[in-house]
């Protein structure tokens, strides 16, 4: 299966029905699939931090949430992850296009690319790095269970080589 299709199917299987997004060139196809799905509320946002706020409200209103973003957006969201998600114990699946990894064509992406796992570690957020679509199916399913059981954010880092 195509890599974008796989992520979409895995999110559906995890019961995700509320998604906020900021685009990355690697997330374009996935965003289109989510946008066309009438069972998922899709909210494009202006800044990732805002997206986390929206998902927190949607979760309390009964939705299962995910955010699609580039890893740069993780940098924009450190405080909301700590002082909203960790503080109140809120779940969310974070589908993160991890730029600045092997194969990156744009040098400017490298510094945040290198900082990404360190930022997640500092926030004590669990993350998985699927290498293939099969991997992604399994790990997103695992992430789906983890967010529900433990009420935590979980990251799925999709490196350039994944796509």
């Amino acid at each position: 299966m195509d890599s974008s299709q796989t992520i979409y199917q895995a999110l559906k299987k995890a019961g995700i029905n509320f998604v906020v997004s900021l685009p990355c060139v690697n997330l374009g196809k996935l965003m289109d699939m989510i946008d066309c799905d009438s069972d998922i509320i899709h909210v494009p946002v202006n800044r990732e931090e805002e997206g986390f706020g929206i998902c927190a409200g949607a979760y309390m209103g009964g939705k299962k949430t995910a955010i699609l973003m580039q890893n740069s957006g993780l940098g924009n969201s450190v405080n909301v992850l700590a002082s909203l998600y960790k503080l109140y114990q809120l779940p969310i699946i974070m589908i993160i296009s991890h730029r600045g990894t092997d194969g990156e064509f744009m040098n400017a992406q490298v510094p945040m690319g290198k900082a990404t796992t360190g930022v997640l570690d500092a926030l004590e957020i669990t993350y998985f790095i699927p290498k293939t679509p099969d991997d992604a199916l399994k790990l997103i399913s695992k992430a789906g269970s983890l967010v529900e059981i433990e009420n935590v954010p979980v990251g799925i880092l999709l490196e350039i080589s994944f796509w």
Binding site: V45, N46, R47, E49, G53, M60, G61, L84
Partner: protein
Amino acid sequence: MERIEAIQKITEQLNNELIICNIGFPSRELYAVKDSPNNFYMLGSMGMASSIGLGLAMAQDRKVVVLDGDGSLLMNMGSLVTIFNQNPNNLILVILDNECYGSTGSQCSYASTVDLSRVAEAVGFKNLFLFQNEIDFSEILNINGSIFVHIKIEKGNADVPVIDMEPEDIKIRFIEEIKGKLNTL
């Protein structure tokens, strides 16, 4: 009119709406004036009140009132654009505007030179209300649509204690209220 008086006047007129309340003294004052399972008190993530309110309004049918501040709105101004575009019919965004960062010592915010109502109007909000001395929610509560309520208040924090609830308890009580379980316990 200081913030706590505005909060008092608003809560007196609300029925059973859900409230998302901004971090710091606004939440402490709401907690002191009228604690309720309908209230979600923010203890962190400054700027996120309007976003949390938007997500909550889109996820369920009950009306949502966000008690936000000028400094917090300025920190997350893009939220106005998202709210306008999503336009849920059950969201009332209240800006308690004292032209300063009240919880940190009343340092001036740019709301003293920028009219936040005009910002909301420029974004496209059609339902705009401005109050200074009296606050009347009767019309506001009957409108279906996203509403921007701008309330000019004086600087000043009430002498009220910190909220003695754990963050997780605030969340669980709020979610149970939304699910309607409290009534059946």
